[in-house]
Amino acid sequence: MKEFAMIMISAALVNNVILARFLGLCSFMGVTTRIDTAAGMGFATTFVITVSSMADWAVQTYLLDAYGLGFLRTVTFILVIASAVQFTEMTIKKVSPELFQMLGIYLPLITTNCAVLGVALLLVEGRMSFINATLFAFASSLGYSLVMVIFAGLRERLALVQVPRLFAGPPIAFIVAGMLAMAFMGFSGIAAS
């Protein structure tokens, strides 16, 4: 039980996907202008990361490792992820048409969100067991969603203040993200195993 808790905390907070590992930054900068879109994106990505990581784990163990095809990993993983995204898109369209409308163009683009491929590669390289891998993927994506929502909140406030013209837009967002990353470094104290 303690081991599982450590995996969760470490993946979600200490080694946060966005702020410590630098994965999924395009969506971090792209869809965090409003809290509700950021939350929707976080929700969809959580689903994709968890499902595709489980599938990638199985592909790696039973296909690539079993037949010595390790060099095809990049190609097969991206195919698995693209199918998982397609599946998520169909599910969301069925379950919640409003969310589908809101996420619009961003949904298919989850395929090129490097957090998805990155988490899959990390758990395969870490040689985790299936349960640990699933937990790791789920906790990582929770950490992703958390930071997306926090950052969207910050940017909603940021939109109301006067920023020097040269800093307006992306630069000030980067600097705010840097400060958020500093705050998250505080979690590294919990990492003692």
Partner: protein
């Protein structure tokens, strides 16, 4: 098209890639390796070059097959082409530049999900003949390399006081000459090497590019072309 028009178009492609439309500082694409692999100038340079090779090769291939690829399935086809190129670069680097390969690690396969190559395939290579597409991919990649090297250099100088440290180890012995120590070892600001430094330095460098563009009398781009 006459020769003069051709060379005019080519010089626009080169200028766009290296400066005007720089993938990192203007379009804000490919942010993940930009932040993660710029803890030193050498890492940034290596990461940039690997990306440039992938971009050149995949732009060329997409342009060659642009009439065979139907619009409905183009994205999966593009991703597969990029993934194939990445696999080649991954294996080649593992064989010939093993030290650099170990440092870049996870981020070599992650070139597949870098938005910059895909954005260029969609915006340029899909509609243009093979040679301009090759040029566009290559120079967008070189612009990316320059951006990563600059960010890496700034972070490395402030963070550890060196410039191009370990270049001989990572890139080969002939690069020994560019290794430098600019500040004494105990003056480094560790924060610059850690994740927050990546965000802050990139933000400030985007501002720096805006200042330079303003000086040159150009319009500054207020928002990047955001893709996910």
């Amino acid at each position: 098209m006459s020769n003069a028009e051709n060379s005019n178009q080519y010089s626009t492609i080169v200028k766009d890639g290296l400066w005007d439309n720089n993938g990192v500082f203007s379009m804000l694409l490919g942010m993940c390796p930009t932040m993660a692999m710029t803890t030193s100038a050498t890492n940034g340079f290596g990461m940039g070059l690997a990306t440039a090779v992938v971009m050149g090769a995949s732009s060329y291939l997409v342009a060659v097959f642009r009439n065979q690829i139907t619009t409905e399935v183009r994205i999966p086809v593009y991703i597969l082409i990029v993934a194939a190129m990445v696999t080649l670069v991954d294996l080649a680097m593992n064989a010939w530049m093993h030290e650099l390969y170990k440092v870049l690690g996870l981020f070599i396969p992650l070139i597949v999900s870098n938005c910059l190559p895909l954005a260029r395939l969609e915006a340029f290579a899909a509609k243009q003949p093979a040679f301009p597409a090759l040029l566009d991919g290559l120079f967008m990649g070189l612009g990316f390399t320059i951006a990563l090297t600059v960010i890496g250099a700034v972070r490395e100088i402030i963070g550890s006081g060196t410039l191009f440290a370990d270049a001989s180890l990572l890139l080969g012995n002939s690069f020994k000459v560019i290794e430098m120590r600019l500040l004494p070892a105990d003056m480094g600001v560790l924060m610059m090497i850690l994740p927050p430094g990546g965000f802050i330095v990139t933000g400030l460098l985007v501002v720096a590019k805006r200042v330079l563009d303003l000086r040159a009398g150009k319009e500054i781009q207020m928002a990047g072309a955001h893709a996910v």
